[in-house]
């Protein structure tokens, strides 16, 4: 090929890589003092992965432990929208919410400082219902049946509850009280400790069964449908209520829900439970807005607003239930104490948060605004990397990389002299090309990616070594410098191509079948292999040709 064209191509490649790497204006969502703002920053367009930047990676799946979801993919698509809206409002810069395959949602939140909170925001079902408390004393009427059910289970001995443990574990324990299972959130935070304790509680009751256990646990509250259970007995009651026989004995058309806060009566703490009409008078689907607030009398609250249709329904329903008590049920837990309906309520209402702080209120408002999840989600994978660890990795990686490069440069120049210097110049361009390719394709730089980069550096050096050794051999055979260079390059070509193609094929397979970090490794390796072939075969040869063309007479010796 003509030397002029070669030089043009080399310069073109350098310019293209430099352009790809040139700092440019990028619009980012940045977390400011007042929430999040769009900000334009100038930076090198190389993205760092979570393992280098710090942050949280979550993988979510449809939770089918409670109910089988018919069209999983469709449900997941809708869930994706809700999660995305929530995350967008959560205020992290450059969040990523995407579907992976057909069954999984990936959420990446860089630089998050409260992973627990983020998980809850993502996972909360936020299913809001308004239900009227039972006025028909249904629970009292059903008590004999409930007692009998508990007794049967207790009498069948220690074996039965144990078996039950496994079924319960398999079915998930998010909310032990639920009769209407399809709407239950996988409230992992409350579920796990519950189950662990419930296990022990259950083993206890299995050992000491006593008659009338169920009715002994509860006592009448202050208005119809309200009951109290001592805090110490909550676990026992929850375990009873999770039993199928007990569930079957619950009056039809009614559900039992726990309140979220305990109350002090006398010196003991009690947890309220409520018997509610199973049919909600309205659900959160008509909600248009929700915002946190503090009220002098009720502490933190979330104020919400229905749309016109919701307002009409709400007015209608509440006018039918004047003087009744209305429970506000969020994810199957009753928020605050059910207020009495004084008069028809229109489009506005509020949820009292009990002792919870303003942040909890604003998180609740956030998830209510974004809408409820169409299906419960479970977290199947969490990776959370602190920002300092990411920085440490970068520092150590850079240090190792720099030292490796310096050593390589010294060794190559010491061994190959002038040709070595040409190779080093080629390697510099190789680094530029690799970074350019990565930036051009918007690849994300990860820790395994850095390893792949160092590795492809080895591949690039190998190509140069192959060529130089070949040139030496040709020189040994008494060929002129010009011919030796030509033959050296052309003979080394097959070996370089073959070995690089095999490596590239491996990298491609890794990319295809790998996930996150492995893909990062594959991408940098692939980019590195391409760049190394270009730099060793084409660029270094051009350098030689330039050198040859500048010699007045054909050179007799080559420093190699």
């Amino acid at each position: 090929m003509n030397l002029k064209y070669r030089i043009v191509i080399v310069i073109g490649l350098i310019l293209a890589s430099a352009a790809a790497l040139f700092p440019r204006n990028v619009t980012e969502r940045v977390k400011g003092p007042n929430g999040f703002v769009f900000d334009t920053v100038r930076r090198v367009p190389l993205k760092r992965g979570l393992d280098l930047k710090g942050g949280m990676h979550l993988a979510l799946e449809v939770d089918e432990s409670k109910a089988v979801v018919a069209d999983k993919s469709e449900a997941l698509d809708r869930a994706l929208k809700v999660v995305r809206t929530r995350i967008d409002q959560f205020g992290v810069s450059e969040p990523l919410v995407q579907k992976e395959g057909e069954e999984r949602i990936i959420v990446e939140l860089p630089g998050i400082d409260d992973p627990q909170r983020a998980q809850e925001v993502v996972q909360k079902s936020a299913f809001l219902q308004f239900q009227i408390t039972d006025e028909t004393q249904a629970l009292e009427k059903a008590l004999p049946k409930l007692d009998a059910a508990v007794k049967t289970i207790a009498r069948s001995g220690a074996v039965a509850p144990r078996q039950d443990t496994t079924t319960r574990r398999a079915s998930g324990v998010s909310d032990l009280l639920t009769a209407d299972t399809s709407r239950v959130a996988a409230r992992a935070d409350s579920a796990r400790p519950d189950s662990a304790k419930a296990d022990s509680a259950k083993t206890d009751t299995a050992v000491t069964p006593s008659a009338g256990d169920f009715s002994n646990l509860i006592q009448q509250g202050q208005f119809p449908g309200e009951y109290f259970v001592a805090n110490d007995d909550v676990q026992t009651l929850q375990s009873y209520l999770s039993m199928p026989a007990v569930q079957a004995a619950i009056p039809p058309g009614k559900v039992i829900r726990f309140g979220i806060d305990s109350m002090q009566i006398g010196n003991a703490l009690y947890r309220p439970i409520y018997v509610l009409d199973a049919r909600p008078i309205i659900t959160g689907q008509f909600l248009t807005d929700a915002k946190p607030n503090t009220s002098p009398t009720e502490g933190t609250i979330v104020e919400f607003q229905f749309n016109n249709e919701g307002g009409r329904r709400f007015r209608n329903e509440t006018s039918k239930h004047i003087q009744d008590y209305m429970a506000i049920v969020l994810d199957d837990r009753v928020m605050g104490r059910p207020p009495v309906i004084q008069s028809a309520i229109g489009t506005r209402g509020q949820i009292t948060m009990g002792g919870r702080d303003l942040q909890a209120a604003s998180d609740l408002a956030l998830v209510l605004r974004a809408g409820s999840l169409p299906t419960p989600l479970k977290i199947v994978e969490i990776r959370n990397i602190g920002p300092t660890l990411g920085q440490d990795s970068i520092d150590q990686g850079t240090r190792a990389g720099t030292i490796a490069v310096v050593l390589l440069v010294v060794l190559i120049i010491a061994y190959y002299r002038f040709s070595g210097a040409l190779a080093v110049a080629g390697l510099l361009l190789y680094v530029l090309f690799t970074l350019g390719i990565l930036a051009g394709f918007g690849a994300v730089l990860t820790l395994p990616g850095l390893a792949g980069f160092v590795l492809s550096l080895g591949v690039a050096v190998d190509a140069n070594v192959l060529i130089f050794e070949r040139i030496r051999e040709e020189l040994d055979r008494g060929k002129t410098v010009r011919t030796a260079i030509d033959e050296g390059f052309s003979h080394a070509m097959t070996a370089i191509v073959d070995s690089n193609v095999t490596a590239a094929l491996t990298a491609a397979v890794l990319y295809q079948f790998g996930t996150g970090p492995v893909q990062g490794f594959a991408v940098t390796l692939l980019a590195g292999i391409i760049a190394s072939m270009v730099s060793s075969i084409f660029v270094v040869r051009t350098f030689y040709m330039v050198w040859l063309s500048r010699q007045a007479t054909s050179p007799q010796t080559l420093s190699i």
Binding site: A188, A196, V380, R383, N384, A400, L450, L455, L510, Q512
Partner: protein
């Protein structure tokens, strides 16, 4: 001109029996240690919880362990990670993993509770990984598929580029490196993590690369050699590529050593795998691929030497190199 291992004529292949003995012994040791205890998979593959915690002052590991035990997290591994103030807590017992089926973060949350109640603000969780068993299984099968497919694809490529006998010898040599690296990991008590698998796959590529370069030279020498046995030609090819092998491997080893010594704890297992892989890749090209090729040629000889020459001649007419030579 500074030269090492120039114009050597070592009879490398003569020592193949010793090499084979060494390899078999090494693999047997690996097998024995495998029977003793299975391969240590990281939580990414099995499911489980891993937390890296930085304490303000070195903690009492025993107290920490019993604290975790009291919270129902028995058998958790607590390993020092780098400095004496940094520890990795790993809960990988099957019972704990099973608990993560419905929500991956449960065990992590419990560990966090124990840590906060004991150390308060005197510790910082710098890394948390929690993987449900299903995701782990999926990753395991994915990694396996990736490895098998990359083997098959390279085999096909080598068969097309060289000839099936060489392709087979190269793939067996690479498989040897794969197994030998697994044994090395086992003996070094390295945990098989995603990063290590990436290292393993790179070792495969690297070792393949090394064999390819010797076989490429063999392909060329075979065309030139008239009255020489395959044994001698192979030896010559190995000797001719020896300077390149030595230089390349020392240069690669240099960068791997830099990673090993300075790259930090996270990348260290990867660097170990690479370091061993470079060694075994070179070894297997000389002592597995070459003797194997001779054995294969003896078992399934090419038709005649004339046919061999003509077949390689037709082959070379298709290689880009002959075109390049013609162009220059």
């Amino acid at each position: 001109m500074l030269r090492i291992f120039h114009n050597t004529s070592y009879d490398f292949i003569r020592w193949w029996k010793w090499a084979a003995g060494l390899t078999v012994a090494f693999l047997l040791i690996g097998l024995a240690s495998y029977i003793q205890a299975p391969i240590n998979y990281s939580i990414e593959f099995t499911g489980g919880t891993m937390m890296q915690v930085e304490f303000e002052r070195p903690p009492d590991v025993g107290a920490l362990r019993s604290g975790l035990g009291a919270a129902g997290i028995e058998g958790a591994e607590i390993i020092q990670f780098g400095s004496s103030r940094e520890f990795v807590i790993r809960a990988q017992e099957s019972r704990q993993i099973a608990e993560q089926d419905t929500a991956a973060g449960t065990i992590a949350r419990r560990i966090q509770q124990v840590l906060t109640s004991t150390y308060g603000s005197q510790m910082r969780v710098v890394r948390t990984e929690a993987v449900s068993p299903r995701v782990g299984d999926e990753l395991q099968s994915k990694a396996l598929i990736a490895m098998i497919i990359s083997f098959i694809i390279t085999l096909i490529y080598l068969a097309v580029r060289f000839e099936w006998r060489m392709g087979l010898a190269a793939v067996v040599a690479t498989a040897h490196d794969f197994v030998a690296t697994l044994v090395f990991m086992k003996l070094m008590h390295l945990e098989v993590s995603l990063m290590v698998v990436a290292g393993l796959l790179t070792v495969i590529g690297y070792s393949m690369n090394d064999t390819v370069i010797i076989f490429d030279r063999l392909r060329e020498d075979l065309r030139k050699a008239r009255n020489e046995s395959l044994y001698d030609t192979l030896n010559r090819s190995i000797n001719e590529t020896l300077p390149r092998s030595i230089i390349t491997h020392s240069l690669s080893l240099t960068s791997v050593l830099a990673l090993l010594l300075l790259g930090g704890e996270v990348i260290r297992p990867f660097a170990w795998v690479m370091a061993f892989g470079i060694f075994t890749g070179t070894f297997s090209s000389m002592y597995v691929a070459a003797p194997l090729l001779i054995w294969i040629e003896r078992k399934w000889p090419r038709k005649t030497s004339v046919a061999r020459r003509s077949s390689t001649a037709t082959r070379t007419s298709r290689t880009p190199r002959s075109k390049a030579t013609a162009a220059t």
